[in-house]
Symmetry: C2
Subunit: 206 residues, 2 copies
DNA sequence: TTGACAAACTAACAGTTGTTAGGTATGCTC
DNA sequence: GAGCATACCTAACAACTGTTAGTTTGTCAA
């Protein structure tokens, strides 16, 4: 009755993402979203041009977030220093736990997993998020570490791919299902990734 | 008019899989399927109990195919012999090209990629198909090769995980999108995987 | 008090959805 | 040729879909 919070639009977006990530965009109806938000169907059209506009807004924001992340990475790059093995492992594990499993990002990844099958923009974003961006970043990290003599001479790109392959492997193996992520899965994943990264470290660091 | 081919049921299943793999089960209507098959909606209910029965039949068959593959692997295991590096690489590349990219399997994987997000049976099948089954198989392969002295002493399970991580990484990086698989992507993927497997071979084989 | 705006509402539209009841043409068996 | 199973059909249902037109409400500036 009262003019609601000026962030109804945000609530719609959050709810939509919630539903999209498990059911997929086209399965979710506007009425499904509205039932949860607590408004009538027609009210959505005050905030969005149409249903697709909701999806596009989510994709656009995720895209913006990705490029922002990209630039952030670039800045903090020169900080790369020699790290002990435990610290190297901790970075990898927390990349999964703090980044990929962070609530919002995780939902976006899950939504993209569905939408990429038929939406090219979603497919591009998915690839950037899980492959291009992290591999590029790791390439530079290893490249710097090589120059400083912490990592033995090799191709930084290839090492970065091997690194990212391990991350993706563990992430997907433990968190790609339909069940909500349990603390059991979390610790199993951390354990497996630790083991793999330990070997990775011993192979390339000196 | 004439009593059609007794394999209308199969055509329905094929068509359904075709549509499910890009659009997802719940987005595809029975009428969508029928329009392509060339029958009326009601005819579907002669062959299937309801819409879900179509999905379940596909899942069931894929599941049967997986366990059959599992047993087939077990038989051919003892054949493992010393392989030159080129042959080892060729096996990995053709695993992607002949197995994962094989038309039907590829469609199933794409469908499962969507359905796993909310269907537990699909999630289980997906995991078995891309993680459990191949890793188990590779574990045994490496284990035998170790006993025969072709591969240096190490944990077969972990080596198998590292191997499978590379396969999954390349497969997803090049073939997870919305575009049909091009021969460009095929050769890029083969090239990247070759490079990664070459290094893998040099690391563990002796 | 008035007017303007934001943000919701009611009510309806035309089309689509899964599903069912009942009918029809074909070919096989007795 | 009668009976019957197979494999399709027509027609309809109730529910749900995205979307629109027009209306109401609360808030604030003039």
């Amino acid at each position: 009755m009262s003019p609601t919070d000026k962030n109804t639009k945000e609530i719609i977006l959050d709810t939509a993402l919630d539903l999209f990530q498990t059911n997929g965009y086209s399965t979710v109806s506007i009425r499904d979203i509205c039932k949860i938000v607590g408004i009538k169907e027609s009210s959505v059209y005050y905030h969005f041009k149409n249903k697709e506009d909701i999806l596009n807004t989510i994709l656009l924001r995720a895209g913006a977030w990705v490029t922002e992340k990209k630039n952030r990475f670039r800045e903090t790059l020169e900080a790369s220093v020699r790290v002990p093995r435990e610290a190297f492992i901790a970075v990898g594990v927390s990349y999964i736990e703090k980044c990929l499993l962070e609530e919002k990002i995780f939902k976006v990844i899950r939504m993209l997993t569905i939408e990429k099958q038929r939406n090219e923009a979603a497919a591009d974003l998915y690839n950037e998020l899980l492959f291009t961006l992290p591999t590029e970043h790791q390439t530079q990290v290893f490249s710097i570490m090589m120059k400083k003599g912490f990592v033995r001479e090799d191709s930084p790109e290839v090492i970065a791919s091997e690194y990212q392959a391990l991350i993706i492997f563990v992430f997907q193996k433990y968190f790609s299902g339909s069940k909500p992520i349990s603390s059991d899965a979390r610790s199993s994943a951390a354990q497996e990734l630790s083991l793999l990264l330990k070997r990775f470290y011993d192979r390339y660091f000196q």
